[in-house]
Symmetry: C3
Subunit: 465 residues, 3 copies
């Protein structure tokens, strides 16, 4: 199924360079500084239950496409908020196989074919005819020691992998991993959305838990900030090198201490108006940047997703079910308060992501090509795809250069897709560089250097790994 030259330019001269570049980086270790793997996998190292639970049910790329073509969430066994889930895994797999053609032209198809062939030796395209054959073979393999999470981690040649953990997580699985003596490097990432976004489910309880965990008085703004400092220090002690922030917008604010305190008071009531909620998030981005200057944690911002667009689906199935839709994002005016406070400080590494590609050439590359603290994260989510990655390089490089970018994030909950995703990213970077060389816009020796830096060096530098 997998052609050795997949994703390289069809044109011969550019392809020849891309092939050479790829040869030089294909076997470099995977650095995965941002993603959503479950630390429990590596702590407990249990077997994955079945092919459906591994490939389909955790992967919103897959079930959103099936759903869009009339396949019900229930028939796919997606867990419901009330705990119901009844679909037979093999039946779900058959539905998936029957609709596998829907993924033609999508990155999901590339990722899954890669896993099928490289990890399970399955080389005939999945379809209704061989659904059971696939299911049986994968199920059998999942029972073997080679398919336990730690063994896979090692066979994937992962040097370091970061999870994403809420600020009030006790990181017990991370502790258990360390205690076990396993050498795999799995690090937490500090994600405080649940104690910053007042619309987050359970926000007030989350704040209380934050207070309890930190021993700080979260009844005051000062105490709340100290509680966050405390948790950041704890995460850092557990190996974290970064924070992550998911906001609706990129709005930041720089309020006086008095204003911020008063705002926090209103937020704490749990009945703040939407303007206050937004302003508080804006203020907290600036506070987080300040703490990053202090403690050195790299800061990541993922804005611009309108969460849970489909009300009925959300009520029945909850968050992260493929119904988050991007919206236009304003970085230029939004980030100004934060950047005016910390943008010139080289101690801060602030990585910006976007779901709004129009900002690549208009806002993000100009910003990152100027402010010493700013770096551009790789294409994210809907744009984490061959065409999306290529557009990013084409639209950002001329203004921001390569050195204001930070390599690739797989950003995935689908553990088996990690090697495939990094492989796609490496191939597309080589394809882009191959074209630059073939068009005599970059020397070949430089392209080799850049390919390696995009794969390893810039990632380690940006995430302090």
């Amino acid at each position: 199924m997998l052609n050795e030259n997949r994703l390289f330019p069809a044109e011969g001269a550019a392809r020849a360079v891309a092939v050479k570049l790829y040869e030089a980086i294909r076997n470099l270790p995977i650095i995965s500084p941002h993603g959503h793997c479950d630390p429990r996998w590596f702590a407990e190292n249990g077997a994955f239950p079945n092919p459906t639970a591994l490939f389909i049910q955790p992967d919103h790329y897959i079930f959103r496409m099936l759903y869009s073509q009339g396949v019900s969430m229930e028939s796919l066994g997606i867990p419901q908020v009330d705990g119901k889930q009844s679909a037979d895994p093999r039946e779900v797999w058959r539905i998936f196989a029957k609709h596998y053609y829907l993924f033609r032209g999508t990155p999901t198809r590339l990722w899954i074919d890669y896993a099928f062939e490289k990890q399970f030796g399955l080389k005939k395209r999945l379809g209704p005819d061989n659904a059971d054959e696939y299911y049986d073979l994968i199920a059998k393999r999942l029972e073997t020691p080679e398919f336990r999470p730690r063994a896979l981690f090692e066979s994937f040649n992962i040097e370091v992998l970061s999870t994403t953990d809420t600020a009030i997580d006790t990181l017990d699985y991370h502790k258990a991993m360390r205690a076990s003596g396993w050498k795999g490097r799995v690090l937490p990432t500090f994600r405080p959305d649940s104690v910053i976004d007042a619309e987050y489910v359970g926000f007030v309880e989350n704040i209380e838990k934050l207070g309890a965990l930190s021993g700080e008085n979260v009844g005051t703004y000062k105490g709340y900030l100290n509680a966050l400092r405390n948790r950041r220090a704890f995460f850092k002690s557990m190996g974290a090198t970064a924070t992550d922030h998911g906001h609706l917008t990129a709005q930041t604010a720089d309020l006086s201490e008095q204003e911020a305190s008063a705002l926090y008071g209103r937020i704490l009531t749990g009945r703040a108006c939407s303007q206050d909620i937004e302003l508080f998030q804006a203020q907290m981005l600036t506070e987080m940047a300040g703490m990053s200057v202090e403690d050195g944690l790299t800061m990541q911002l993922h804005p611009g997703s309108v969460r849970n667009h489909n009300q009925k689906l959300f009520e029945k199935f909850g968050r992260d079910k493929g119904a988050d839709i991007p919206a236009p994002t304003d970085y230029v005016r939004g980030l100004r308060p934060l950047l005016n406070k910390y943008g010139n400080d080289s101690r801060l590494t602030f990585i910006l992501f976007t779901l709004d590609e129009t900002t690549y050439s208009r806002e993000l590359a100009p910003l990152a090509g100027h402010y010493p603290s700013l770096r551009l994260g790789p294409p994210w989510w809907f744009q984490d795809s061959p065409e999306g990655m290529m557009r990013f390089r084409e639209q950002a490089t001329e203004t921001a250069g390569f050195y204001n970018t930070v390599g690739f994030n797989d950003d995935t909950r689908a553990f088996l897709s990690i090697p495939a995703r990094h492989d796609v990213a490496r191939r597309i970077d080589c394809a882009f560089l191959g074209r630059l060389v073939a068009e005599h816009r970059l020397d070949e020796d430089e392209a080799f250097e850049v390919a390696r830096q995009l794969t390893v060096d810039l990632v380690k530098k940006a995430y302090k790994l």
Copy 2:
């Protein structure tokens, strides 16, 4: 003039695949589910009067380009609101020929060259030197039976063609066509803008006419809705399978019956404020979606065009004179009320179009890649062009796949351009698929299947043809 390999990738490997794919679909019948042909042509089957009336005067792509370079509308014989029109057709043709170089690099040039060569055997590029030769030859041909509308329809291998008809149209030409015994399948499309948009010329009279035609009491909101139901049923009885909606924005609303009734009352006065007018249109999109769930008519939305941007031109020459200019369009928040009501209902097929290409990857593909009711219409109007079509495939496919798209619309008033437009679309789809295959992102057997589906199957399915 026409090279056999036009519009295919210059690169050899991708071109070789594209050529093979195109061979497999080039002779498939034309399915034209959306356009602006005049049903009178097929009802009366009269000869087209002259080359200028056929090629130039109805085609805003042509006269807007000429106008932009200082050619007056008067000199082109564009009819004025007061009925004046004096230009000699042959003189207009000479002006056109003299300025034919202006169309270099535009799709208009591709369409017209195609018609010249394929339909009239004219193979030397049009220019001032051969303007009369062209005129005389075309004029002569137009007198022959082979150039009557029905004969052309058949020679174009059109399987089905939909017109666009206002909700208060009596469809007399469609009736006459049926009565004539002609076998050509020409269907009406239900377009209710004139009775939904309170700023439409003659809106209040249109509502009265709607009442008269339907026999419903349009003095109440309930009666108004019933009148629309009645007209939809009539259109359906005349073969319609779809509705079409041209709105300034993609805003929808889901008001209570009481609110909607009161709003309708204010609208009916003919003196509603602009906010009410917009809200009423928003509400009516949701009502129309509900009726589509009931009666099965596929729903099309064409938003985002600021109509009649050029006030002086509008006053003298009226609507549709090339002075409509696109504006940014918000689908994510705009469509939410409608989608929360009907978006999960597979009985609804709701096809979205855009003039704002930034929404392909940011909004439209994520929406259509999730909601079962949504499909993406092809690139429209200013983007109905080789580069525009390619950008659509490149930017929408990775998230929405091919199967949430609906094939091509020619959307034209220029009858002779229909085969050319479908040919361009087929070639660009083959060019895109050819590149995917050459880059090993899609298997060749799959590309053949997709090419056929984009040309015929997905169109028929989406439009229930």
Copy 3:
């Protein structure tokens, strides 16, 4: 360093055409109708002081990239507002050489390599090892007569070059140039931002100076307009053929004389609110268009840059230090008042620029493809790059054609980069045309004609040169 085929498509068929086209235009004279060269250079014809002052310190493309990677402005010897500047030129050059790899993949790299090789014969890539060698050789050359501004102007084969001059400039250097008998054609451009934008530093004093220079009573709106007319006439008498307007937005207005007078009264106080300031700028664009209809000066609008985004940098180093960031720009509604007044008047040539590429296909090409007065300026600033130029042609041509565009602007303060910039533009145009021919979308003889028109004829026509 410079490959003869640089920037042409890697694919052979398109490249072969591009090479032929380029051969036909590479030696055509440079027409530079918009830029920021200092007229003093040509008036005094003094030697450039040293390599750093020539290449680095005036070029915000260079120091913004260095700054983004932690190189301080002080260490680069960028002059401070308080007059301080202490860096040793050779040390600055060494810093530049050490960080030259940062420019990989950027147009700056292309421009500078071109100057190094073509103007100084330096063919080994700049780096830390040969920094001093570069510095010494360039410094030595700068002392020779061949490297005086006028000699360079001639050796660059510049037929005409326009500077950009504030409305209250006395054009003394232009006068001196003329008086010297030198034959080089260097023309001023009328830029009235400093007397139209009430937030401009020294606005009230600027207005006073305008009054003094023109002999008009600028205490009234009528007198103010006459003063501007007077200055335009003076600029025209000094050879100016164009005006230029840098605004935050593309908003225009068409106020009654009474409203405009009252608004001017509020503006004159120096304490106008931001809405008034914006409205006044909007009104003045329309007034300027009216004056262009009268006096025939071509009008240029450069909107959409949020100036001085970095407050601390601005306070220490002042304007134009690489901290201007683009923002979304609305042309459709913004330009309507002006276009409704003058858009249909062929006497006006109004050239639109953008930093918001989303507007190419959505707004600018549809506008320029309709209004007789409108033309599209070339990609500007952050988009004046190979990928940016290619996107412009790909996204604007199908709707606006080639003939509503105006060729290339180098827009530079970096005199030595002028030949390189024009060379890049010519190569990209040939690359685009080469692809059109290779894809059989344009005949080869037409491509030759278009290449020449884009390089010379359309520029001269648009700028009346």
